[in-house]
Amino acid sequence: MKAIVFALRGFRRELRSGEVLVLLAAVGLAVAALTAVGFLTDRIGKAVARQANEVLAADLRLRSQEQVPEEWSELAREYDLATAETMAFPSVVFAGDTSALATIKVVSSSYPLRGAVRVADTLFGEQRVVDGIPAPGDVWADGALLARVGADVGDFLAVGELDLRVSAVLTYRPDQSIGFASLAPSLLMNIDDISRSGLIGEGSRVSYALLVAGDEAAVAEFNDAIQDLLPESIRVRSQEESSARAYKAADRAQRFLSLTSIISLLLSAVAVAMSARRFAHRRMDTVALMKSLGATQGFVISVALVQLVLLGLLGVVAGSLVGFVAEDLLSRILDDLMQTDLPSPGLRPVILASGSALVLLLGFALPSLLQLRNTPPLRVLRHDAMAPAPSRILVVGMSLAAVAALLYRSVGDIRMLVILMGGIIVIAAALYLAGRGLVALIGRSRSGVGVAWRYGLANVARRGRDSAIQVVAFGLGLTVLLLLTLVRTDLLEGWQATLDEDAPNHFLINIQPHEVDSVAALFEHNGVAAPVFTPLVRARMTKINEQSVKDRDYPNEDGRWLANREANLSWAAELSSSNEILEGEWWPADYDGPPLVSIEQDSARNAGLAIGDKLLFVVAGLELTAEIASIRKINWDSFQPNFFIVLSPGALDGMPTTYISSMKIEAHEQSMLINLVRAHPSISVIDIGAILEQVRGIIEKASFAVQAVFVFTLAAGIAVLFASVQSTIDERRFESAMLRALGAPRRTVFVGVMAEFAALGLAAGILASAGASVLAAIIAVQLFELPYEFSPLLWIVGLSAGVLIVCVSGFFAARSAINAPPGDVLRTAAP
């Protein structure tokens, strides 16, 4: 009790001292970083939880690429289950001359069976839950879609051959895809309109579903009953499976994020440890005095502890405030991105973050503080009497324990924890050694410079250990930021650069044979070269080497699915330029023997197919056997129409065929597409350029959100710098005063101090640029399969940002030393 009164007294004044501010900032940063990440993970978790419970809009979903036969819904009704039908497919909708790609969701009147649709009466208006679906002739359109075509509620949209009135803004449907819905915003329409729209024709890419819901036991019985009866072309998905998948994906994202926040946490921990060391050091005089006046060890340590906890709490409050601001910013970005509006996460992330920060504070600051207890009271008479340094085992042990405790919360598994801790220790040691190496280089380079620079560079080398820690801490913060800004754009641009200038930017799908000529004529009429039309035949593979595809064993589940689903076949005389034969041989252009087939490599591997295998296809009741002649690799980046299964010429003659085509259309030729779609409503136009633009936008926003978290990492790096400068500030003041007493002008002192920071910043910049380059190369080659290109810009920005930021922060950290008047040299220790 007495200790608390003591600790509080004078605490306010203590807050002005540099090391206390740094300690506060470090704790605050840790809290802010953790809060922001906690907030992000909370959002992701909630978004997933909300949708995982509804994703199907039903208890069971039977999905197929063809209309689900009536018998299944009749069967469901026999089990007293409610049913609904849905279809979904991409299509371009128009409002006047502007168009946008939409996901057309066609539903029957009982949709949705689970969850509820929400709409608003105006764009950005208040949303409300509705019962039912759009009336025939009406549609409900996603706000993003309306925005893209510049339409509003009450306007008409051209959907296929129909003009449908937008009667409401669709804000939410239970089965909308999680996350990046804005890729193709939804348009909800009544199933009664679909036949008149002309959108569904032979070969249309429609995903049909029969939704089923009802009493839990009845659903289970029905599910059991259909398991063995359903053809392989119909896939059943239950609500539980969907939720489990969604939760698993969310869990991964959340773990990744909390692990990234560990970097900020560790840097903050270093700053905490450094400033706590000085905090303890500065309190030694007071503690010695209190002891000489009769204070016991227990009392002294209680006072220090109370002050530390108070500091921690203050830091927590400050950090939470910053965290809340970050939350507000992030929620704007994310809600826009995920097209949901989620309730604010409340205090949970803040409480967790605060708890973690306090654990950190205790783990990293306590050893220094405990040492205070052993301050000899003799210090009041002999200033060199000091407490013995805290035992290394205690310092290392406590900090490792604190880090382990925090990591355990993120990984939740002892084995992973050990691996991770090991990894962190190895990386930290490697970085530290790299830092030492750079510092040594700086020290060696000082013979060739003037007096001020020599003084600064000598300082870097003299405080070798601290300098290395600063270089690493700051370098790490800079690395992640470089990675998220420059490398991200580099990668995106690199990927786009690999795309051919003349690569197609539009796809036409679902062209009926009789339309081919008029489409070609339309192109010529508009002065654009007629594109190549690639035939497409929908077929089902029934047997592989005389064995039914149902009974066959597959290397993996993807293979089973691939073999069992309806496949798109094409035929070609010549190998497409975007293909490469890996095994076997391509047939001659004038081949007219028995049907041969070429298979894409991944499909072949997954389905366990090899050259010489005989495949039996059924196309609209006709059978066709083809022998595998080659295995191909496809370069999908070419944006050419490509098929997993390609047959030899003549093999598909007489089968029901549609055509697809891809082409490059310049911006000024776009209006041609409108005429095309008006004339041929069942043809779908897919604008790749627009999709790429959207993907880029999404990546940009998502990485901005993550970047916000990493800003705290950089700030933590700066906190380490401040902590380190603080711990030597007395020494620095004295030296500056002495230099000036010896006749050095203020300018020289300034240059000397700044030289030190410039050198540190340069070293940090080298470390960060090298680190970001290596990571970028790994990401490019491993993840994106792009050749890595050396980026001089990365190094220019990395080095100059390093020097600039360290110099500016260093100036603020050390300005009292720069300005120390020469008279200070005469003054001994403070009061």
């Binding site: 004078g10 000489s292 204070a295 220790a829 009061p831």
Partner: protein, 225 residues
């Protein structure tokens, strides 16, 4: 009251063991004022630290207020100091984050005094700083700081007051004012005073003078008065 029995102090240094005090013995009665004099490095501060229990002798022992300091642990010696010892230092040693009044309250509270604030106010007035009580050390002059230190030292009405060159950081006029105050308080509260000083005129004002040289007690003389 305060007894030194064959007190020696050795410290280890790079050049081997160094004897700072050897075989110092004396006995000081309650209420006496004693000056410890000697050239720089003679071991005065070392002796003071041993007498006050801030440090322990290598051999011999010190008895303070009837208690053998060597027989107490660190907290035990701290408690004894809280009860019966006061200090005035050459460089004041005020706590920079506490104001004058709070600095004076410090030992009172450590000793568990009930009404520390009122008692501290009283003594602040006695040293003539009633207008400056809310000021922080950084806002006070050297002389004022030392007055606060003296107020702090006398606040608990200690049995023994140790002063290590209390005027060493003050000009001669301020120094003599401060010393007048100290002697006055010493007389009125009949405290035992151990004063380390270089100033012979100050030493003359004490009842007894112990002269140290190179760690040996050279002379022990009583004032003529």
């Amino acid at each position: 009251m305060l007894e030194a029995h064959q007190v020696s102090k050795q410290v280890s240094s790079p050049e081997g063991s160094l004897t700072i005090l050897s075989d110092v013995s004396f006995r000081i009665l309650a209420g006496d004022s004693v000056a410890v004099v000697g050239p720089s490095g003679a071991g005065k501060s070392t002796l003071l630290a041993l007498l006050a229990g801030l440090d322990l002798p290598s051999s011999g022992h010190v008895v303070l207020n009837g208690a053998n300091l060597s027989a107490l642990d660190e907290d035990g010696r701290a408690r004894l100091r809280a009860e019966s010892v006061g200090f005035v230092f050459q460089s004041f040693h005020l706590v920079p984050s506490l104001n004058a009044l709070e600095n004076v309250m410090l030992p009172l509270e450590l000793a568990g005094h009930r009404d520390a604030r009122a008692a501290a106010r009283g003594i602040i007035e006695t040293v003539g700083l009633q207008d400056r009580w809310s000021h922080y050390p950084a806002q006070l002059s050297g002389g004022e700081k030392q007055r606060v230190a003296i107020a702090r030292a006398f606040a608990t009405e200690p049995a023994v007051l140790f002063a290590d060159e209390p005027t060493g950081n003050l000009d001669s006029r301020t120094g003599s004012n401060v010393m007048n105050l100290m002697f006055e308080l010493n007389r009125s509260s009949s405290t035992t005073l151990i004063l380390v000083t270089h100033d012979s005129s100050l030493a003359e004002r004490c009842d007894r003078i112990l002269a140290l040289d190179a760690g040996l007690l050279e002379s022990d003389s009583w004032a003529a008065r």
